[in-house]
């Protein structure tokens, strides 16, 4: 029985991953990663490292390879070239990475309630053939109360607002006991209050030393709310403190014509990815 062997192998890996915390050093080490997607270059020689507990904003125009980068780190996509190292092993060698999908890529009519979705984060810990026990449901409830949704545990997922949907996935990552969370556009089309709720949770996660990468469109949010900014357009344009990275020169390199530069009194720039305006705004 192939499948049982596979499951047993996984369980061994699950127990092994617990030891990585003491090893220190970087959480993610990407070296020279390139990805060809259907014959097109999606990522070009990207290299960087993340430290434990860091909160990183990943910005770049549409099609810059942000999602591709996340998929490589998660282990869904194999890089064509280069090496990905997460917690000292290849992606897939551990179960402490959580990928929070873009909300529009989820089937919200799927017949599951909020509790069921959070419990999905636990199934590797449960193992084959075991049903969730009281302790697992306790973890699910705890994860939900961390994001302020404990009373929604029996709601069908289609009944949630955009902000609640996003917080539900954060709760699932907590139930998964993830130490690296990759969030794909978690703030897009959320109202300011819901965005603020997410940042409150991110602050809590900082205390738990969870490493977080967030793909974003809004450069202002990226520069104000995150430790470092990773500017990407197929290749890595810059990675560091926002005032060093979000310079006019680098942004022009990343966004090309799809950009608006607005100087402000403080000398900062307010910048938007205008690819959604159908390219009507070409800067001088």
């Amino acid at each position: 029985m192939d499948i049982f062997k596979e499951f047993r192998k996984n369980n061994r890996l699950v127990t092994r991953h617990d030891s990585h915390i003491e090893t220190g050093g970087s959480v993610v080490r990407i070296s020279g990663v390139s990805v060809y997607y259907d014959g097109n270059l999606a990522l070009d020689q990207v290299s960087f490292e993340l430290n434990p507990g860091e909160q990183i904003a990943v910005v770049g125009p549409n099609g810059a390879g942000k999602s591709t980068l996340f998929k490589v780190i998660v282990g869904v996509l194999k890089p064509t070239e280069g090496k990905v190292d997460v917690f000292g092993s290849e992606p897939g060698g551990h179960i402490c990475i959580a990928y929070l999908p873009q909300r529009n890529q989820v089937d919200w009519n799927f017949p599951v309630n909020v509790g069921d979705v959070i419990m999905m984060g636990r199934i590797s810990k449960l193992g084959l053939l075991r049903q969730p026990r009281r302790g697992d449901w306790e973890i699910v409830r705890q994860a939900l109360s961390e994001v302020g949704m404990q009373e929604l545990i029996t709601n069908q997922i289609s009944e949630l607002s955009g902000g609640q949907q996003q917080r539900m996935f954060i709760a699932r990552a907590l139930a998964q006991e993830a130490e690296l969370m990759l969030m794909d556009e978690p703030l897009s089309s959320l109202d300011p209050q819901s965005q603020e709720d997410i940042f409150t949770i991110l602050k809590k996660l900082r205390q738990r030393n969870v490493t977080i990468m967030v793909a974003l469109h809004d450069l202002k949010t990226a520069s104000e709310r995150f430790d470092r900014v990773l500017l990407l357009n197929k290749h890595l344009i810059g990675f560091g403190k926002s005032d060093e990275i979000l310079t006019a020169e680098r942004l022009v390199e990343a966004y090309g014509g799809h950009m608006r530069l607005v100087p402000t009194p403080e000398g900062l720039m307010t910048l938007e990815d205008t690819c959604c305006d159908e390219g009507g705004n070409i800067p001088e």
């Binding site: 192939d2 499948i3 596979e6 499951f7 996984n10 890996l13 699950v14 998929k71 998660v74 282990g75 869904v76 897939g92 179960i95 990475i97 959580a98 990928y99 999908p101 989820v106 089937d107 799927f110 017949p111 599951v112 309630n113 069921d116 979705v117 999905m120 984060g121 199934i123 590797s124 449960l126 084959l128 053939l129 069908q156 699932r172 998964q176």
Partner: protein, 287 residues
């Protein structure tokens, strides 16, 4: 009451009823995943592509039932592996690959059966089923393999759930996705072969998706959806058989029509409920 009891005095009716209840349960549990994962076309194609298997089993076994079962299963597995291989190794999209394999296998089946003299009668049985011809050994075979299918779905419930809802999560949780996907294909193939005699190849997809889709409209959780689907399917089977007995309609068609009617009623009821709710909401929001 005698209307309900009278047909039961015929052993072939009793066997037929047991058969449609088993098939209803197995088809709807597996069909739930077919509906949720958008595999309806695949299910239809797989049902059609077992025809050459049946034909070979029929020619080799000289009318014996058991060889049909194994040859049909073999044809289903070969087809699903073929579909996967074509869409993975070329730039051809999966639905095109399904179409090519399905039509090719179906044609092969017809060609093989047409070499036999009693061609039309036999072909009709395979295409549209013959639930009243189910024998006791057939029922055993259906019961054992149907039971195995349901047991497998229960054992891997959590894993199939995650894989269907969020494949990326399945990868990060280190689930063996490829193996589980193939296991699901084997389950669908086995289900089709188990159900073959009730509705036949041509209407099989209705047993897989119609009760499951009806249940999908009414349920908020997966186990509820499976249970409701099983009830709808078995109910359609039983009602369909009675209709076929009294109205002299082909049994497979009667079963599928009943199940379609239940879907239509549920759909109408659902739309009515939703318009009422949204109307009430708009009244409140005006105040």
């Amino acid at each position: 009451m005698s209307i309900l009891l009278e047909p039961l005095s015929y052993p072939f009716m009793l066997r037929g009823l047991v058969a449609v209840i088993i098939v209803g349960a197995v088809c709807s549990v597996v069909g739930t995943y077919v509906v949720l994962r958008g595999m309806a076309f695949f299910g239809d194609a797989l049902a059609h592509s077992i025809l050459p298997g049946i034909a070979i089993g029929y020619l080799v076994g000289e009318g014996a039932r058991q060889p049909l079962f194994w040859w049909a299963l073999l044809a289903a597995l070969v087809s699903s592996i073929g579909i996967g291989a074509i869409s993975r190794s070329t730039k051809i999209k999966e639905d095109t690959a399904i179409g090519i394999v399905f039509a090719g296998m179906f044609a092969l089946g017809i060609a093989l059966i047409s070499t036999v003299r009693s061609y039309t009668v036999d072909l009709a049985h395979f295409l549209f089923g013959n639930v009243l011809g189910v024998s006791i050994p057939d029922l055993w075979l259906m019961g054992i393999f149907g039971g195995l299918v349901i047991l497998t779905v229960i054992i891997f419930y959590k894993e199939f759930l995650v894989l269907s809802f969020d494949p990326i999560l399945a990868t990060t949780l280190r689930l063996p996705g490829r193996i589980l996907d193939n296991l699901l294909l084997i389950l669908i193939a086995t289900t089709i072969v188990v159900s073959l005699q009730t509705v036949g190849v041509a209407l099989m997809v209705a047993m897989l998706i119609t009760p499951a889709a009806t249940a999908y409209l009414m349920s908020k959780r997966l186990p509820v959806m499976m249970l409701l689907a099983a009830c709808f399917a078995s109910l359609s089977g039983v009602i369909g058989l009675y209709v076929s007995y009294y109205a002299g309609v082909a049994s497979g068609a009667a079963i599928v029509l009943t199940s379609t009617l239940i879907f239509a009623l549920t759909w109408a009821f659902n739309s009515l409920k939703n318009t009422l709710i949204s109307k009430r909401r708009s009244i409140y929001s005006k105040e």
